[in-house]
Symmetry: C2
Subunit: 114 residues, 2 copies
């Protein structure tokens, strides 16, 4: 069920994020028009990348997320929101241990590692 | 600042929602492609309506939100997420006192009251 968004269903974010205690994972929880809402859980640093065809928004729900940009690092605590414009190179990583986030982006978003 | 999303800025949801203690208000906090993220705060019931050209997603961040649909009522606690498909008639209302939510929808979303 976690990997198949079901229309008209309540998604409990904490429940969906539970049990993922190592590594990097994300899965869709809802479709909104041609965009997708995902839960992203990380205990490790992700790779530098950019999305040529989509902005990407992060809302931190547990822990703290660092978003490295080329000129600075953004620190997002739970309840804080940040949008990375398309084509902007970035890297996400947890500050301490585990970071849980919701992302909003185009369902057909492309990723270029760099 | 609250009414003008600024690119590459951290949005603190609690801070943005503070000070709105009566009535119904919402304002955009971020643009994501052709979609908009809004904070919606309500202490009163909204009117029955539908959106012909956009799905609308709600994430409750404070309080409890009722989403009335024609055949049932969805109850969203903080940390729960629900998407209303386009053309589905609905009404939102706070369960007790004040409900704060993030919404995600097309920036040019239309509303039809019914």
């Amino acid at each position: 069920m976690k990997f198949n968004p079901v229309p008209l269903t309540i998604v409990d974010l904490k429940e969906n994020a539970s049990g993922y205690d190592s590594g990097i994972t994300n899965f869709p929880v809802s479709l909104v028009n041609d965009h997708v809402v995902r839960i992203s859980i990380m205990t490790e640093d992700f790779r530098w990348h950019l999305h040529p065809n989509s902005d990407e928004a992060f809302l931190t729900t547990e822990g703290v997320l660092f978003i490295d940009l080329e000129d600075r690092t953004v620190e997002l605590a739970a309840g804080q929101f940040f949008t990375i414009p398309h084509n902007v190179k970035h890297r996400t990583r947890p500050k301490n241990g585990r970071s849980v986030n919701i992302t909003f982006e185009k369902a057909n978003m492309e990723t270029v590692y760099c």
